[in-house]
Protein backbone atom coordinates (compact mmCIF):
# COMPACT_ATOMS: atom_id res chain seq x y z
CA UNK A 1 0.00 0.00 0.00
CA UNK A 2 1.25 3.47 -0.91
CA UNK A 3 2.28 5.45 2.16
CA UNK A 4 1.57 9.17 2.00
CA UNK A 5 4.01 9.90 4.84
CA UNK A 6 6.96 10.93 2.60
CA UNK A 7 4.66 13.29 0.69
CA UNK A 8 2.96 15.01 3.62
CA UNK A 9 4.98 18.23 3.30
CA UNK A 10 4.36 18.33 -0.47
CA UNK A 11 0.62 17.74 -0.02
CA UNK A 12 0.44 20.52 2.58
CA UNK A 13 2.46 22.80 0.31
CA UNK A 14 0.11 22.23 -2.63
CA UNK A 15 -3.04 22.65 -0.50
CA UNK A 16 -1.94 26.21 0.34
CA UNK A 17 -2.09 27.69 -3.20
CA UNK A 18 -5.03 25.44 -4.06
CA UNK A 19 -7.20 27.03 -1.39
CA UNK A 20 -5.69 30.43 -2.25
CA UNK A 21 -6.80 30.10 -5.87
CA UNK A 22 -10.23 28.70 -4.91
CA UNK A 23 -10.70 31.65 -2.52
CA UNK A 24 -9.65 34.10 -5.25
CA UNK A 25 -12.13 32.53 -7.70
CA UNK A 26 -14.87 32.75 -5.08
CA UNK A 27 -13.99 36.45 -4.58
CA UNK A 28 -14.35 36.96 -8.35
CA UNK A 29 -17.76 35.27 -8.11
CA UNK A 30 -18.75 37.70 -5.32
CA UNK A 31 -17.51 40.65 -7.41
CA UNK A 32 -19.59 39.59 -10.44
CA UNK A 33 -22.72 39.04 -8.32
CA UNK A 34 -22.25 42.47 -6.68
CA UNK A 35 -21.92 44.18 -10.06
CA UNK A 36 -25.19 42.59 -11.22
CA UNK A 37 -27.41 42.39 -8.13
CA UNK A 38 -30.88 40.92 -8.35
CA UNK A 39 -33.24 39.05 -6.07
CA UNK A 40 -31.62 35.70 -6.81
CA UNK A 41 -27.99 36.85 -6.53
CA UNK A 42 -28.06 37.73 -2.81
CA UNK A 43 -28.06 34.11 -1.65
CA UNK A 44 -25.35 33.12 -4.15
CA UNK A 45 -23.21 36.07 -3.08
CA UNK A 46 -23.45 35.14 0.59
CA UNK A 47 -22.54 31.55 -0.25
CA UNK A 48 -19.54 32.69 -2.31
CA UNK A 49 -18.43 35.13 0.42
CA UNK A 50 -18.52 32.30 2.98
CA UNK A 51 -16.44 30.20 0.55
CA UNK A 52 -13.89 33.04 0.29
CA UNK A 53 -13.53 33.17 4.08
CA UNK A 54 -13.26 29.38 4.47
CA UNK A 55 -10.73 29.04 1.62
CA UNK A 56 -8.52 31.82 2.98
CA UNK A 57 -8.55 30.35 6.48
CA UNK A 58 -7.55 26.95 5.02
CA UNK A 59 -4.85 28.59 2.84
CA UNK A 60 -3.60 30.34 6.00
CA UNK A 61 -3.54 27.13 8.07
CA UNK A 62 -1.86 24.93 5.42
CA UNK A 63 0.55 27.64 4.23
CA UNK A 64 1.39 28.62 7.79
CA UNK A 65 2.01 25.03 8.88
CA UNK A 66 4.33 24.45 5.93
CA UNK A 67 6.10 27.79 6.38
CA UNK A 68 6.74 27.22 10.08
CA UNK A 69 7.74 23.55 9.84
CA UNK A 70 9.34 23.01 6.42
CA UNK A 71 10.30 26.30 4.78
CA UNK A 72 13.62 26.65 6.64
CA UNK A 73 15.32 24.19 4.24
CA UNK A 74 14.12 26.03 1.13
CA UNK A 75 15.06 29.34 2.73
CA UNK A 76 18.64 28.19 3.30
CA UNK A 77 18.84 26.96 -0.30
CA UNK A 78 17.40 30.18 -1.73
CA UNK A 79 19.70 32.41 0.32
CA UNK A 80 22.75 30.51 -0.93
CA UNK A 81 21.50 30.36 -4.51
CA UNK A 82 21.59 32.89 -7.36
CA UNK A 83 18.19 34.40 -6.42
CA UNK A 84 18.43 35.34 -2.70
CA UNK A 85 15.87 38.10 -3.33
CA UNK A 86 13.27 35.32 -3.82
CA UNK A 87 13.32 35.10 -0.01
CA UNK A 88 14.52 38.55 1.06
CA UNK A 89 11.98 40.46 -1.01
CA UNK A 90 9.28 38.10 -2.30
CA UNK A 91 8.82 35.69 0.63
CA UNK A 92 9.18 38.38 3.27
CA UNK A 93 6.57 40.52 1.49
CA UNK A 94 4.28 37.57 0.73
CA UNK A 95 4.18 36.24 4.29
CA UNK A 96 3.04 39.62 5.63
CA UNK A 97 0.95 40.70 2.64
CA UNK A 98 -1.12 37.51 3.00
CA UNK A 99 -2.74 38.88 6.16
CA UNK A 100 -4.35 41.74 4.17
CA UNK A 101 -6.58 39.61 1.87
CA UNK A 102 -7.07 37.17 4.77
CA UNK A 103 -8.59 39.92 6.95
CA UNK A 104 -10.63 41.23 4.02
CA UNK A 105 -11.84 37.66 3.36
CA UNK A 106 -13.11 37.48 6.95
CA UNK A 107 -14.88 40.82 6.48
CA UNK A 108 -16.53 39.87 3.17
CA UNK A 109 -19.32 37.63 4.64
CA UNK A 110 -20.12 40.39 7.15
CA UNK A 111 -20.67 43.03 4.46
CA UNK A 112 -22.46 40.53 2.17
CA UNK A 113 -25.09 40.04 4.88
CA UNK A 114 -26.48 43.48 3.92
CA UNK A 115 -29.22 43.63 1.25
CA UNK A 116 -27.37 44.44 -1.99
CA UNK A 117 -30.44 45.59 -3.91
CA UNK A 118 -31.20 48.47 -1.55
CA UNK A 119 -27.90 49.14 0.25
CA UNK A 120 -25.71 51.06 -2.18
CA UNK A 121 -22.90 51.67 0.33
CA UNK A 122 -22.65 47.95 1.13
CA UNK A 123 -22.66 47.02 -2.56
CA UNK A 124 -19.78 49.42 -3.30
CA UNK A 125 -17.87 48.07 -0.31
CA UNK A 126 -18.36 44.48 -1.52
CA UNK A 127 -17.04 45.40 -4.98
CA UNK A 128 -13.99 47.13 -3.46
CA UNK A 129 -13.22 44.39 -0.90
CA UNK A 130 -13.63 41.56 -3.42
CA UNK A 131 -11.45 43.47 -5.91
CA UNK A 132 -8.74 44.04 -3.30
CA UNK A 133 -8.79 40.34 -2.35
CA UNK A 134 -8.36 39.37 -6.00
CA UNK A 135 -5.51 41.85 -6.68
CA UNK A 136 -3.64 40.96 -3.48
CA UNK A 137 -4.09 37.24 -4.08
CA UNK A 138 -2.76 37.44 -7.64
CA UNK A 139 0.30 39.32 -6.34
CA UNK A 140 0.78 36.66 -3.64
CA UNK A 141 0.42 33.82 -6.15
CA UNK A 142 3.05 35.53 -8.32
CA UNK A 143 5.37 35.96 -5.35
CA UNK A 144 4.91 32.26 -4.52
CA UNK A 145 6.01 31.38 -8.05
CA UNK A 146 9.16 33.49 -7.64
CA UNK A 147 9.96 31.82 -4.29
CA UNK A 148 9.45 28.41 -5.89
CA UNK A 149 11.73 29.35 -8.78
CA UNK A 150 14.33 30.72 -6.37
CA UNK A 151 14.52 27.30 -4.68
CA UNK A 152 14.52 25.48 -8.03
CA UNK A 153 17.41 27.40 -9.56
CA UNK A 154 19.34 27.17 -6.27
CA UNK A 155 19.05 23.37 -6.50
CA UNK A 156 20.08 23.26 -10.14
CA UNK A 157 23.01 25.51 -9.19
CA UNK A 158 24.03 22.98 -6.50
CA UNK A 159 23.62 20.09 -9.00
CA UNK A 160 25.81 21.89 -11.56
CA UNK A 161 28.51 22.49 -8.95
CA UNK A 162 28.36 18.78 -8.02
CA UNK A 163 28.98 17.76 -11.64
CA UNK A 164 32.01 20.02 -12.00
Amino acid sequence: MLSLQPYVSDIILFLHPTFGVLGTMAALWVLVEALNPNAASQRRMRLAAAAVAVCFVLAWVFGGYWYVNYYYADKALILHGPWPFAHDLFMETKEHLFFIPAMLALYLPVICARPMLTDRAARRMVVAVAGLIILNSLAIEGAGAVVNHGAKIAMSHVAQQGQE
Binding site: G64, T93, H96, F99, M103, Y107, V110, N136
Partner: protein, 106 residues
Protein backbone atom coordinates in the same frame (compact mmCIF):
# COMPACT_ATOMS: atom_id res chain seq x y z
CA UNK B 1 -33.80 49.83 -7.53
CA UNK B 2 -31.21 51.60 -5.39
CA UNK B 3 -32.30 53.75 -2.50
CA UNK B 4 -31.10 57.33 -2.86
CA UNK B 5 -31.68 58.66 0.65
CA UNK B 6 -28.70 59.84 2.75
CA UNK B 7 -29.29 56.74 4.91
CA UNK B 8 -28.45 54.60 1.88
CA UNK B 9 -24.86 55.82 2.03
CA UNK B 10 -24.33 54.87 5.68
CA UNK B 11 -22.65 51.72 6.93
CA UNK B 12 -23.60 50.84 10.48
CA UNK B 13 -23.81 47.71 12.61
CA UNK B 14 -21.35 44.90 11.98
CA UNK B 15 -20.78 45.98 8.36
CA UNK B 16 -19.49 49.40 9.41
CA UNK B 17 -17.66 48.24 12.54
CA UNK B 18 -15.73 45.42 10.90
CA UNK B 19 -15.03 47.61 7.86
CA UNK B 20 -13.33 50.07 10.19
CA UNK B 21 -11.60 47.14 11.92
CA UNK B 22 -10.34 45.89 8.54
CA UNK B 23 -8.77 49.29 7.77
CA UNK B 24 -7.21 49.46 11.24
CA UNK B 25 -5.83 45.91 11.19
CA UNK B 26 -4.25 46.37 7.74
CA UNK B 27 -2.35 49.45 8.99
CA UNK B 28 -1.47 47.56 12.20
CA UNK B 29 -0.22 44.57 10.20
CA UNK B 30 2.11 46.69 8.09
CA UNK B 31 3.40 48.69 11.05
CA UNK B 32 4.06 45.52 13.06
CA UNK B 33 5.94 43.96 10.11
CA UNK B 34 8.14 47.06 9.84
CA UNK B 35 8.82 47.33 13.58
CA UNK B 36 9.62 43.65 14.18
CA UNK B 37 11.88 43.58 11.12
CA UNK B 38 13.75 46.67 12.33
CA UNK B 39 13.87 45.74 16.01
CA UNK B 40 15.06 42.18 16.67
CA UNK B 41 14.01 42.05 20.38
CA UNK B 42 10.35 42.39 19.34
CA UNK B 43 10.76 39.69 16.69
CA UNK B 44 12.40 37.42 19.29
CA UNK B 45 9.67 38.10 21.86
CA UNK B 46 6.98 37.30 19.28
CA UNK B 47 8.81 34.09 18.35
CA UNK B 48 9.11 33.10 22.04
CA UNK B 49 5.39 33.64 22.59
CA UNK B 50 4.08 31.00 20.14
CA UNK B 51 7.19 29.34 18.72
CA UNK B 52 7.30 31.51 15.57
CA UNK B 53 7.03 35.28 15.03
CA UNK B 54 4.67 34.76 12.08
CA UNK B 55 2.17 32.78 14.17
CA UNK B 56 2.14 35.54 16.80
CA UNK B 57 1.80 38.16 14.06
CA UNK B 58 -1.26 36.41 12.61
CA UNK B 59 -2.88 35.91 16.02
CA UNK B 60 -2.31 39.59 16.88
CA UNK B 61 -3.91 40.61 13.57
CA UNK B 62 -6.93 38.41 14.32
CA UNK B 63 -7.18 39.81 17.85
CA UNK B 64 -7.01 43.44 16.64
CA UNK B 65 -9.59 42.77 13.90
CA UNK B 66 -11.97 41.05 16.30
CA UNK B 67 -11.54 43.45 19.21
CA UNK B 68 -11.74 46.68 17.18
CA UNK B 69 -14.73 45.32 15.26
CA UNK B 70 -16.60 44.29 18.42
CA UNK B 71 -15.80 47.53 20.27
CA UNK B 72 -16.91 49.74 17.37
CA UNK B 73 -20.01 47.57 16.86
CA UNK B 74 -20.95 47.82 20.55
CA UNK B 75 -20.39 51.59 20.43
CA UNK B 76 -23.10 51.74 17.75
CA UNK B 77 -20.96 53.73 15.30
CA UNK B 78 -22.32 54.62 11.87
CA UNK B 79 -19.95 55.48 9.01
CA UNK B 80 -20.22 57.40 5.78
CA UNK B 81 -20.05 54.55 3.27
CA UNK B 82 -17.87 56.42 0.79
CA UNK B 83 -15.32 57.45 3.44
CA UNK B 84 -15.14 53.98 4.98
CA UNK B 85 -14.64 52.47 1.53
CA UNK B 86 -11.82 54.94 0.84
CA UNK B 87 -10.25 54.11 4.21
CA UNK B 88 -10.27 50.36 3.48
CA UNK B 89 -8.92 50.82 -0.07
CA UNK B 90 -6.24 53.31 1.04
CA UNK B 91 -5.19 51.04 3.93
CA UNK B 92 -4.93 48.01 1.61
CA UNK B 93 -3.00 49.84 -1.11
CA UNK B 94 -0.67 51.66 1.31
CA UNK B 95 -0.25 48.51 3.43
CA UNK B 96 0.64 46.31 0.46
CA UNK B 97 2.86 48.97 -1.12
CA UNK B 98 4.47 49.72 2.23
CA UNK B 99 5.37 46.08 2.80
CA UNK B 100 6.82 45.67 -0.71
CA UNK B 101 8.87 48.88 -0.47
CA UNK B 102 10.13 48.02 3.02
CA UNK B 103 11.50 44.63 2.00
CA UNK B 104 12.80 46.08 -1.27
CA UNK B 105 14.71 48.96 0.32
CA UNK B 106 15.58 47.84 3.85
Amino acid sequence: MMANSPQADRLDGAAGAFGAAAAVVIVFNTALAWIKDAWAPLNDAMAALTGHHWITHGLLDLAVFGLVGLLVWRAGASFNGQRLLLAVVAAALCGGGGLSLWFLLV
